[in-house]
């Protein structure tokens, strides 16, 4: 189900992605190894705070090298997720942005409003629903959420000076 893009192009791009993943792991392992040494490896008889993390970091580095080696020599062709289409990618980014927006706005506009905006945004721009449906559902969900979490479960969600 690779939207539009020719199949081989898709696989090749993800295969290069595997190299990217391998590199990320390598870097993470490297940083972790350095940090672990700094925290102190201790001795074998008295392992320090860096002991286990160092071991894990070394393992990561080794495995990352294996992954890179396999990818670069084309030794293994693994089943990997599909390449997302442009719309799917845009949707994913929109969702992430919406979630970040939620966290940012929550202390500012309060639980009820932020929830309504969040649900509304997603319904309209990702779910592609009409304005009427968006408005109704967003408002409905926000009210129910308020009743459920703030009133019934007494969770201290942030509120504006207006009380919601």
């Amino acid at each position: 189900m690779i939207d539009g893009a020719p199949r081989t192009g898709g696989i090749a791009r993800i295969a290069r992605g595997d190299v990217a993943a391998g590199l990320v792991l390598l870097i993470l392992g490297g940083i972790a190894a350095f940090a672990s040494i700094k925290y102190g490896l201790g001795k074998w008889s008295v392992p320090g705070p860096g002991f286990l993390p160092f071991g894990a970091a070394v393992l990561i580095i080794i495995l990352a090298l294996v992954i890179l080696a396999r990818e670069l020599t084309g030794a293994v062709r693994l089943e990997i997720g599909q390449v997302p289409s442009k719309t799917a990618l845009r949707d994913v980014l929109a969702v992430l942005a919406a979630m970040v927006g939620y966290a940012a706005l929550l202390p500012v506009t309060g639980f009820l409003t932020t929830t309504a905006l969040f649900v509304g945004f997603l319904l309209r721009f990702v779910g592609r629903k009409s304005w009427l449906v968006t408005l109704l559902v967003a408002a409905g969900v926000a009210v129910v959420a308020h009743l459920l979490f703030v009133v019934f479960l007494a969770v201290q969600m942030p509120v504006t000076p207006f009380g919601f």
Partner: protein, 497 residues
């Protein structure tokens, strides 16, 4: 048989609040099983914050209900729509959907429900017997045994859940690193905190888990297009015929036993059990070529196996404190956050929790049988709710849940970050299960390692000279050799999503 404990368990499970949450749990589980794109792991992760407001027994009853309930629900869409609601129901689409096409969908669902009930109940009985025995043995475990057992657990989870062993182990190692974040208990040295105050207590496994399982699932599902066309089903006849029952007897029995033993192994779980049962039934059938055309044995066996495996997963969790699957790891985390240390002492220190959960599983299985037999058309309706309405709710729940843990936007940020990470991991074929397991087990793993080395005065031979520890490590090594065996590829096939 510890009758007084069993009685205590039923007393606990029969309390109205526990009955209520048992029902809610299995209902949610059923629902989650039906809906593709939302799995029990995600649902449990999302409900973790809610479960903290209740006493530990109730919380585990609720969350456990979701897990084994999902094994029932996954069947419905597999049979009626050829869409597996859960990965453990993939195999059911092979013959179950065919049966539906032949107008025998009701019989398929009925047999699945009955088989699931029998398997779940038998697994529970076995749990009641084996659990305390295992816990007794485990009381003699020292730090070396625990360390080796954790390694074994990670080995099996990695083998069974990852397409690539290398990637699986890299995720486990990342999990260890994540689990090391925060102040080291023994020395007080802050590790990997990079000056961020909120990381002093560690990374907080609930937002991580909600991100990796809940948010990442949603992000991946956004790519899927097209809704399955609902069948106009006439499932009045949810009861299988006498002939169906006769043919299903042995498959159910075999599925139960096979599923139970596979479920005991960390990592194997209900998916492997279902596949294995299908393979076994096909091999034992006098007409194997008919499999895939609507053989009821191909439904009865796997559907029993997956429920048996789900029940079996509780054995290592409750008696040893070792999670067998990602979901069990979540339950382990839930126990820990309630301040309960899982392990062999659980049976003696908190019998009301252990036996309460076990007792509630009988009740839950019964509830599910009742829910499933007559109410199929209702469940089918649920599939028709467009995803566009569902996913904002799921995300909202995650956001609220993450925030409400410590009223911290940092946790919310962690959720979002791991949602993105989880999505990328899925894209590149890295499984979250080993990471989660390692994240949760790291404190125990590290303790086991450090204490063992201190006892042995620096010699790693302690892990091999102590017999039980050596045994675990040997089994772990053997498991790592499994991919080399051709039998594994035939039995487990390709990992489908």
């Amino acid at each position: 048989m510890q009758w007084s404990n069993i009685l205590l368990g039923f007393e606990t499970a029969a309390q109205p609040v526990n009955l209520l949450f048992c029902f809610i749990g299995v209902l949610l589980g059923q629902l989650v099983g039906i809906l593709p794109g939302l799995g029990p792991a995600a649902a449990i992760a999302i409900l973790l914050p809610v479960s903290f407001t209740m006493p530990p027994a109730t919380a585990i009853i609720l969350l456990a209900g979701i897990y084994y309930g999902a094994q029932y629900g996954g069947t419905i869409t597999s049979v009626l729509l050829n869409v597996p609601g859960e990965s453990s129901s993939v195999v059911t689409t092979l013959d179950g959907y065919q049966m539906a096409q032949q107008g025998r969908g009701g019989a398929a669902l009925g047999i699945a429900a009955i088989g699931s009930f029998i398997a779940g109940t038998v697994a529970n009985l076995a749990l009641m017997v084996i659990g305390p025995l295992l816990a007794d043995i485990a009381l003699d475990f020292g730090p070396a045994e625990y360390f080796s057992l954790m390694i074994l657990g990670m080995a099996t989870i990695t083998i069974f859940t990852s397409g690539s062993v290398v990637k699986g182990w890299s995720m486990a190692a990342i999990g260890v690193l994540l689990g090391s974040v925060g102040k080291d208990i023994i020395s007080g040295v802050p590790r990997f905190t990079f000056g961020v105050r909120e990381l002093m207590d560690g990374i907080g496994f609930v937002p991580v888990v909600m991100g990796l399982f809940g948010v990442a699932e949603v992000l991946s599902s956004l790519e899927e297009e097209g809704k399955p066309v609902p069948i106009k089903t006439n499932v009045r006849d949810a009861l299988p015929s006498a002939e169906d029952m006769r043919r299903s007897g042995w498959p159910i029995a075999r599925g139960t036993v096979l599923g139970f033993f596979l479920g005991l192994l960390p990592g194997a779980g209900s998916v492997v059990a279902a596949f294995a049962s299908y393979a076994v039934e096909k091999r034992l059938s006098p007409t194997p070529e008919k499999f895939g055309t609507g053989m009821i044995e191909g439904v009865a066996g796997p559907e029993s196996a997956n429920n048996a495996a789900a029940g079996a997963g509780f054995v290592p969790l409750l008696s040893l404190g070792i999670p067998a699957t990602a979901v069990m790891a979540l339950l382990l985390g839930a126990l820990m956050i309630h301040g309960i240390q899982p392990g062999p002492m659980l049976f003696s220190l908190h019998p009301e929790i252990v036996w309460g959960v076990i007792a509630s599983m009988y009740i839950g299985n019964l509830m599910l049988l009742i829910l499933n037999l007559p109410l199929i058309p209702l469940w089918v309706k649920c599939v028709e709710v467009p995803y566009a309405y569902m996913f904002p709710l799921i995300l909202l729940f995650c956001l609220i849940g993450a925030f409400s843990l410590q009223y911290s936007l940092f946790d919310t940020g962690t959720l979002i970050a791991f949602g993105l990470i989880g999505y990328l991991m899925k894209k590149f074929g890295y499984e979250p299960a080993p990471l989660i397991l390692a994240l949760i087990l790291t404190p125990l793993l590290e303790n086991g390692l450090r204490q063992s080395l201190m006892i042995s005065q620096g010699s790693p031979m302690i892990f091999i000279t102590r017999p039980l520890s050596a045994a675990f490590l040997v089994i772990a090594a053997l498991i790592l050799l499994l991919p080399v065996l051709p039998a594994r590829r035939r039995l487990f096939g390709e990992r489908s999503k």
